[in-house]
């Protein structure tokens, strides 16, 4: 075949596409293996509890503080817009709905991806680079069952809890700014909120979203760590990829889930 510019460009394109698809397939098989070998992580639950500490508990501060500030900003901005139409009592609805439906799950997931996801990738990547995973394999212990699965499940469990804390904190922030600072009527702030926020439709759908996001982030994080080049550049590259890929995946998944859940409601 004559290797002129066009064929070479097409070849390059083709190789990139097949590489991506191959990697996606590999990642899917890796997820299957993780779920299949989860017996150890669930039976010896203290392994998973340890990882919940590192992913969940250590993310608490950033989640709570960001939640509070996001809620306070929502309170300020929401009030500014709503009072132009003379309906500032609807501030509670605005703050609560935007938090439980969207901002809570999505922003908490983005923070989680950069706080915990990157840490998971770096940790597993370093274990690979220093041959700890190989050593484990040589000791007849499957690293997927012993190292990957507990971290995966810890992420899946932590994420919804963090998202709910983010929403609760945000609503509290909105309350602080709206009611305590600006002086929106406290009664109508809460009662309007309660009248419009549905437990199943709004809150539970938000929780389901955060579950899905937790699974996506944990999956990407453990995969990038396990698959990275066992060198310093490999680990740092994988860590960056975890944050970028999972952030994009969260936003895409959020669009799909929102379209499925809140269509017509």
């Amino acid at each position: 075949m004559p290797a002129n510019g066009l064929t070479r460009a097409l070849q390059g394109l083709g190789r990139r596409v097949t590489d991506r698809i191959w990697r996606l397939g590999f990642a899917a098989r890796f997820l299957m293996a993780t779920v299949m070998y989860s017996g150890t992580a669930l039976r010896r639950f203290n392994l998973t509890i340890r990882e919940i500490y590192f992913t969940g508990v250590l993310s608490l501060i950033i989640i709570l503080v960001s939640g509070l500030f996001v809620g306070m900003v929502l309170g300020l901005q929401g009030y500014d817009t709503l009072q132009r139409y003379g309906s500032s009592e609807a501030l509670g609805i605005l703050v609560a709905l935007s938090l439980v439906r969207e901002l809570g799950p999505v922003v908490a997931a983005l923070l989680f991806a950069s706080r915990a996801g990157s840490a998971i990738t770096a940790e597993i990547g370093l274990m690979k680079a220093t041959e700890q995973l190989s050593a484990m394999e040589m000791m007849a212990v499957d690293p997927i069952a012993r190292v990957v699965a507990p971290r995966f499940w810890a992420g899946v469990i932590s994420m919804p809890l963090l998202a709910m804390l983010f929403s609760a904190m945000g609503i509290f922030g909105g309350y602080l700014v709206g009611v305590q600072l600006i002086g929106v009527d406290e009664g109508s702030f809460w009662s309007q909120m309660q009248a419009s926020v549905d437990f199943r439709e709004d809150i539970m759908n938000g929780v389901i979203k955060s579950f899905v996001f937790g699974a996506i982030i944990s999956w990407i994080a453990v995969f990038e760590g396990y698959d990275c080049e066992p060198t310093a550049e490999g680990v740092s590259g994988a860590t960056t990829r975890t944050v970028v890929t999972s952030s994009l995946a969260i936003l895409a998944a959020d669009f799909i889930l929102t379209a499925l859940m809140f269509r017509g409601a």
Binding site: E131, S134, A135, E137, M139, A140, V141
Partner: protein, 271 residues
């Protein structure tokens, strides 16, 4: 049974990404002996070790460990076999999130239901064997290179294996740690009645402790013999290796066309 070698490689080929890494390797590791595989970096020594441990599968040929063909084992069989092997990685590969004690206890906790008191006694025995009983509470980051290597050795013998594989056990050690580790390899081998495979390029240290040496170059075995035979070897490659000469069969220059030709061509292009 005992006359048969513990590890036997027959006509083993290994190809990675269409690049032949090993070609027609024949090797025997007798029981109770310390065997060294030597060669330059990237010659396929570590690959041989990984074939024995079953982390890689031979492209063709047969790797037999303790009567079992490693290439034919399924995952469970391989894991069962690996419980009878210990491996010491290049830089120890200690689990950085666990203390020295937990590192050594790791396999006992994973593979046995022994009560905690018994595990404690066993860990103390293993740590005592490498002289680090006092370091049990330290974390791997607090250990020197030589100590980390010794802890990793204690971990490798945790379940009393038949065979220990050493991947560059001398790399990056100071002279004292080097001879401590060398001595430990020999004494553990004899005291526990195990067999050892040492992959290394540290010729002086390993010749003091090994029984038999294989020289690997470019994926082939180029020389073999007992430690004394190797010292007196007339083989130019072995000679260069032992005496560390800069030039010889292993050329100083990376393959390239002749220097004069290259200068002439580049000068022509610049014009």
């Amino acid at each position: 049974m005992s006359s048969e070698p513990l590890v036997k490689l027959t006509d083993v080929n290994f190809t990675y990404d269409r690049r032949p890494v090993l070609q027609g390797i024949n090797m025997e590791i007798p029981r109770g002996k310390v065997v060294a595989i030597m060669g330059l970096s990237g010659c396929g020594k570590t690959t041989t070790l990984r074939l024995i441990g079953g982390q890689l599968k031979a492209t063709s040929g047969e790797v037999k460990v303790n009567g079992q063909v490693v290439n034919d084992l399924d995952n469970d069989g391989l894991y069962a076999l690996r419980r009878r092997m210990g491996m010491l990685f290049q830089f120890g590969a200690l689990f950085t999130d666990m203390s020295v004690y937990d590192n050594v206890a790791f396999q006992m906790r994973e593979h046995t239901d022994l009560p905690n008191e018994l595990i404690h006694d066993l860990v103390m025995m293993k740590l005592h064997a490498v002289g680090l009983r006092g370091a049990q509470k330290l974390m791997p980051s607090e250990l020197s290179g030589g100590m980390a290597r010794r802890v990793a050795l204690a971990r490798a013998i945790a379940l009393d294996p038949l065979l220990i594989l050493y991947d560059e056990p001398f790399a990056g050690l100071d002279p004292i740690s080097l001879s401590v580790v060398g001595k430990l390899i020999r004494t553990l081998n004899d005291a526990l009645g195990i067999s050892s495979v040492v992959v290394t390029h540290d010729i002086q240290e390993s010749l003091k402790i090994v029984d038999y040496v294989y020289f690997v170059s470019e994926g082939k075995i180029v020389a073999q013999g007992t430690a004394d035979e190797i010292k007196d070897s007339a083989e130019p490659y072995v000679h260069q290796f032992i005496w560390g000469e800069a030039d010889g069969p292993v050329s100083f220059h990376y393959p390239a066309r002749s220097f004069g030709e290259q200068i002439y061509k580049e000068a022509a292009r610049a014009r």
